[in-house]
Symmetry: none
Subunit: 239 residues, 4 copies
DNA sequence: CATGAATGAGAATTCATTCAT
DNA sequence: GATGAATGAATTCTCATTCAT
């Protein structure tokens, strides 16, 4: 966005209308809703990732609005004009950062397989433990997402929310099973799944409260137990 | 981005050293760490509140960086130069907004008295219910705090954290009592209190997940139960 | 007064460390202690000179503080943003003006060769006459230098003083020779040289006293004689 | 001058037309070409002097344009509105400073009497020595005058020049007498007198050249001798 | 494809001056 | 006479974006 446009419609109509994913219009290649002038799709993919990585770091450190395109240009090693060959506006860089994070997070989850147990509690604990691991790794990216989501173009925000929803639903099925088997306490599986999701970022947002008291591992263990115990009924409750 | 926020070492040292609340130095009146040139303390207090209210709305709607001083000037009905009589830099407006919110929240809590029960569970439920009420009222302000806290001057941020810590500690004593009386499940009262605090803003941050499914009251009731049940041991666990 | 000149500690440390002349650091080209974002050194040199010329005229006519960047932008025909590509702050324009003058003056002196005589009096007269010529040409620039030197950044001021000192020392050696040969009156060659230097700008600063009485040539001749006679012992003092 | 006027005619016509010294018009009292709203002439005189003294210091330290009316208000201990009761615009404060200096300098000269000798050389030396004393005392004020004289309203500048001219003429008569008595070298007494005047401020403007080499007394003695020797013919020039 | 110079609207902030109290 | 709050034009400087090379 030009400083002068501020929430107004762009000076000239976008040259590229984005109707979905990976479409081509007006001779422009599109990669995940971010339009680019450059034609070579492989190059676009590569550079988009590169830009996302470098810009994420800057956004994390300084905030989106405090980061200038010139800084992004310097960090990526791309001339500013070239940079604009791969995006249409600064906002797009934020979208790229979001997309890259989601892709990473997805990949990170996809690796977590080898689930052998069928026990809902085991499944839940596995999910939580894996998620906590991811959260620890992507701590700063998550903060970034929360902080800057309002800056994201509407459709990108919906995109992000959809991805989160998918995650929540996976968790929901686990919880629902536990409920059905009378092992879990919650009445509403979707509410519980969402809450667990919210609890997962507890340390991301309030880690500073414990930094002096406990080690990272200790707090994470406390958190895991807290989440699980909120859901799982005590086994010994019946003799 | 605004010029003056980059690398935010102030152009010149502030002429006013702020040592506490409402001190006077160099002929400048200070209201809660925001220095002003205006001498009449009553006026300063009044206008600071006025500015905070109007600016908060703008910040909520457009974000801090997207809100210009001119807009704040217009919203407050004060000429820009006059506005700057009450603050030293744009940042200060954010501080005023934070302060005003904290003051409100505090007052809102102070009213909640008339606690008659001595039962930890009742106390906990009372606290949670009251807090949920506040959270609902200050929903947008809370989002603002989270979003823009990094923009806040360091000492203001610490200030805000300290206030939060105080709240958490109140909750902690309640939980600790419940633990001592073997009524509550958590092992670590401080961790639990912090978690409850985090859960209180669940709907603030993820309300959109439920907007279609439940009414506000319903979700709030679900949340209250979820929080309480995570802490309180089932009464009928012993026959 | 301009905001940014008060208490002139720079907002943020300059991104470019200037260690000498025409160094490169952080991808920025430097021309005589004035840093620029533009990378093409030839262009920087050219534009710096251009800016210096146009701005000097404005500074002479209106004074440094009364000249706005917008005026400089208009006078140079450069867009304001582009202008700031070649400087970091308004002050730099003053530095450029000083530098350009010193360079001119130096070149103007370097041309003055063809000294055939070895006689100290001839050398002195030659020097004074040449200097008076320069002073006449650069009259307004000299006034500018005196008037605005306090506005100059410290290191630029020292730079200017150093250049002046070099000039004085050239004169000093001439005078010292005259003293050694018992042809000149002064006791202290450095003091005398400095004084001559001071006398050279007599008409620059007090020309208005004579504008009605004498022509420029006449006053200049009077001045030349006055200076010379203050130094050179009368030849016929011995029979 | 309002910042917005910049060398333009003032927003509204001056309420007071100043045609000379100490006139009254439109119910305003005038003190030495500076108009004031306050009616009590004694008070005006007193405050004008007070303002001049305090403002001079600020102007010397920070320069005229860098000094704000608020700073002058604080330094004088007068409320800003009250300050404007005694002046019409910021420029007037500069005029007051100039006037005060001239008055001081005049008084300082008037004291120097008791001249007993009738010898032109003695008179000259006495004059120079006295002047050097004054120059040393008013060093910073003199620099101020030179630096800011262009900012002075036209008529004030002429005023100042007239006063200087008077001083020069006193010196001229002494020199003329020496020339008539064949004791002095110069051909043109007015030129010589002006030059002496110019030389008197040598140390004011170039003192930094000697600060490491000589003491103040030494340089002043050197200067006195240099000036005198430039004018007075050597006594032993005749056998 | 890549480069980086150029553009200019717009942001924060200052400050001389006025005027109601 | 004195006070100081209010005004708002003008200033410096930034930075997303374009476009000629």
């Amino acid at each position: 966005m030009t400083r002068s446009l501020k929430n107004k419609s762009p000076k000239s109509a976008r040259k590229t209308v984005i109707t979905g994913q990976k479409k081509i219009k007006n001779n422009e290649v599109i990669s995940a809703t971010v339009a680019s002038r450059i034609k070579n799709p492989e190059l676009v993919r590569k550079k988009h990732l590169h830009i996302a990585k470098k810009a994420s770091k800057l956004f994390i450190k300084k905030g989106y609005h405090q980061t200038t395109m010139r800084e992004i240009s310097k960090a990526t090693g791309m001339a500013i004009g070239n940079l604009y060959g791969y995006i249409s506006r600064k906002e797009d860089v934020l979208s790229l950062a979001f997309n890259a994070y989601h892709q990473y997070a997805q990949e990170s989850l996809d690796k977590k397989e080898g689930v052998t147990s069928n026990n809902p509690e085991d499944l839940l604990r596995l999910f939580v433990r894996g998620a906590l691991h991811n959260v620890r790794i992507f701590r700063e990216e998550i903060i970034l997402m929360y902080r800057e989501s309002r800056t994201l173009p509407k459709n990108e925000l919906q995109n992000a929310q959809k991805k989160e929803m998918t995650q929540i639903q996976i968790l929901e099925t686990i919880i629902q099973r536990g409920i059905n088997e009378k092992l879990f306490r919650p009445q509403d599986s979707f509410f519980a799944a969402s809450m667990v999701y919210h609890q997962l970022i507890f340390l991301t947002m309030r880690g500073w409260l414990f930094s002096r008291k406990y080690s990272t591992e200790e707090t994470e263990a406390l958190l895991e137990d807290y989440i699980i115990n909120s859901i799982v009924l005590p086994k010994n409750s019946l003799p």
